[in-house]
Subunit: 331 residues, 2 copies
DNA sequence: TTGTAGGCGTTATCAC
DNA sequence: GTGATAACGCCTACAA
């Protein structure tokens, strides 16, 4: 391991000087600063986290706990943190965490803050973490009571409302929704919000939401298949199905097609998330795109401002509906 | 923060004794051990990780650098490490890394070892990391010269050979392949290996590989679309296309379908990776499944044995071809 | 502007 | 068995 001593020797200065260069103290002569920078590069030196932590109780790294991989988000988070000299570490976790066990790195104090992306925890565990670190929530899977500015998500009700309005304008009246349950039990906030949006659009159009057309299951293709089978078993099928994620929509469409139903001719199906595959699928799938780039950047900026005790401006991020063939013959 | 000193004072012993109690050294008298345990409980003492890390230069965590998310792999890695009391941290990186910048956690002494999953680095950077930490390679994206037991991947040539044999048995003779390039430049080892397998199967069947039927591009749907367009522009099209990943296969099939070509009736298409979507797609897609669970477990066991300086037995893992409609009318 | 020195909390090596 | 003590790598008074 390369230490600050090695750098100092290599650059022919004292380790205090090296430390000063690292910490941007500007009372270092340009000449020595350059010497030091050179040595750092040559030796590929990076300050040892343990040493720094012990001394400053600061690690310059942020933990992102995630349950869903979104490359765009990961890229954005990593890049934004990098700008500020922070390192992002990812920790993979199930979408729903009941106890704190899966979060050991959090408790080891190896990071300065935690971003929870698409992870739903028991409120007690959440508050326990929040006592130790700044926490930012991402993805709308759960809500903070109070600290709403630390919750980063699109307004799910609004986009669901817009999508539903589109279906209604296309003449659909019997709209089924497929909601999401995590760990076979809990419906995350974003799913409940989307339902609220759907109901609002229906209500405004004077259409009754038919409760029996709501199906709920976990994330994944099979939920879509089950939903499709359920709908096909009804005496009167829905004329459109709004699935609360794309995998569900894909499973749903596949099951319909296998039984000879045509999408969109016989029934509309919409998804959510704008996975790459939705543009490739036959039919291409209407869905909702989230600005994952912005979300990642925002999450990092938010957590850094918490860590550094500053305030940031409130930024709104918005989902955008994308209409494709599965809900629009002419698309 | 309560330290080991506080505990020592509270229990009326030296901190050395407290440390011994904590580290299960059994040369502590029962009487003092109890005293210490009592104090620890009363003060809610938890050893400071930074201190321990600094002293032992052991972090009990492993970094997994990945460019492709495979939930099965991540689960397996996390679970297997957990068994041994290790924590897995993930670090997201592009598939092809030219310099060491994206690997800062490695240099910060945050981890005891590194698993590189589907990440291709400059050889110089790789060797540099290997000088500092045990490294295990996963996914066949590059090769170790020498240390082959630390390279975990299926035998890509063999499965590609098997898939090609299947195509040949189905009567196909003009077989196109779509290879993979990372960062727009480098063809990873697994792609080259797959080509070797294809060529071998063709050679054995006495069929000439038609070089103009090889297309190469990056991972992703659009490569498949480009390949399809390329093939359709030829005076004589291939009768089967073996794409070296599923996204490419999907893009390829989509483009064919849009031009009115039917898969499998007019042309066969096979993929690689067994993404969930391949079973849902229309037509369902023949592909190769990799045992990601085993790979994850194996990778962790391998790296732990490196860290602890033990030897493990050599285990072979194998890919498995899965035949579906896209290469088999009756499937 | 630079270097020296002390200490953050822990464990390991000594003596006793 | 037990207790002093010396590191581990870093940052920051303080002295020069």
């Amino acid at each position: 391991m390369v230490t600050i001593d090695d750098v100092a020797k290599c650059a022919g200065v004292s380790k205090a000087t090296v430390s000063r260069v690292l910490n941007n103290a500007d009372m270092v002569s340009d000449k020595r600063r350059e010497l030091v920078m050179d040595a750092i590069k040559r030796l590929k030196y990076e300050p040892n986290i343990a040493g720094r932590m012990l001394r400053k109780s600061e690690t310059k790294s942020i933990l992102v706990v995630f349950s869903v991989l979104i490359p765009e988000f990961m890229n954005a988070v990593t890049a934004e943190a990098d700008k500020a000299g922070y390192t992002i570490l990812f920790y993979y976790s199930p979408a729903y965490i009941k106890n704190a066990k899966p979060l050991s790195p959090v408790y080891q104090g190896l990071v300065d803050g935690v971003i929870l992306q698409d992870v739903m925890l028991d409120q007690k565990v959440l508050y326990d973490i929040m006592e130790r670190y700044p926490v930012v929530l991402c993805g709308g899977v759960m809500s903070f009571e109070g600290r709403d500015e630390n919750s980063i998500a699109i307004d799910n009700a609004v986009v669901a409302y817009n999508m539903t309005k589109h279906l209604i304008e296309k003449g659909k009246k019997r709209i089924g929704i497929v909601g999401i349950q995590l760990g076979g039990k809990v419906e995350p906030k974003f799913s409940r919000d989307r339902e609220i949006g759907v109901r609002k659009a229906l209500a405004e159009a004077g259409i009754d939401m038919i409760d029996s057309l709501k199906y709920i299951g976990d994330v994944g293709y099979s939920t879509g298949r089950e939903a499709a089978e359920y709908y096909m078993s009804l005496s009167q099928m829905p004329d459109a199905v709004f699935c609360f994620n794309d995998k569900i929509a894909i499973g749903c469409i596949s099951a319909f097609k296998e039984k000879g139903l045509r999408v969109p001719e016989d029934i509309y199906v919409a998804g959510f998330d704008n996975l790459g595959i939705t543009a490739q699928f036959d039919p291409s799938i209407s869905t909702v795109a989230q600005p994952f780039n912005e979300m990642g950047e925002l999450a990092v900026r938010r957590i850094l401002s918490e860590i550094q005790g500053e305030l940031t401006e409130e930024v709104k991020i918005e989902g955008r509906i994308i209409l494709r063939k599965s809900t629009d013959e002419e698309a």
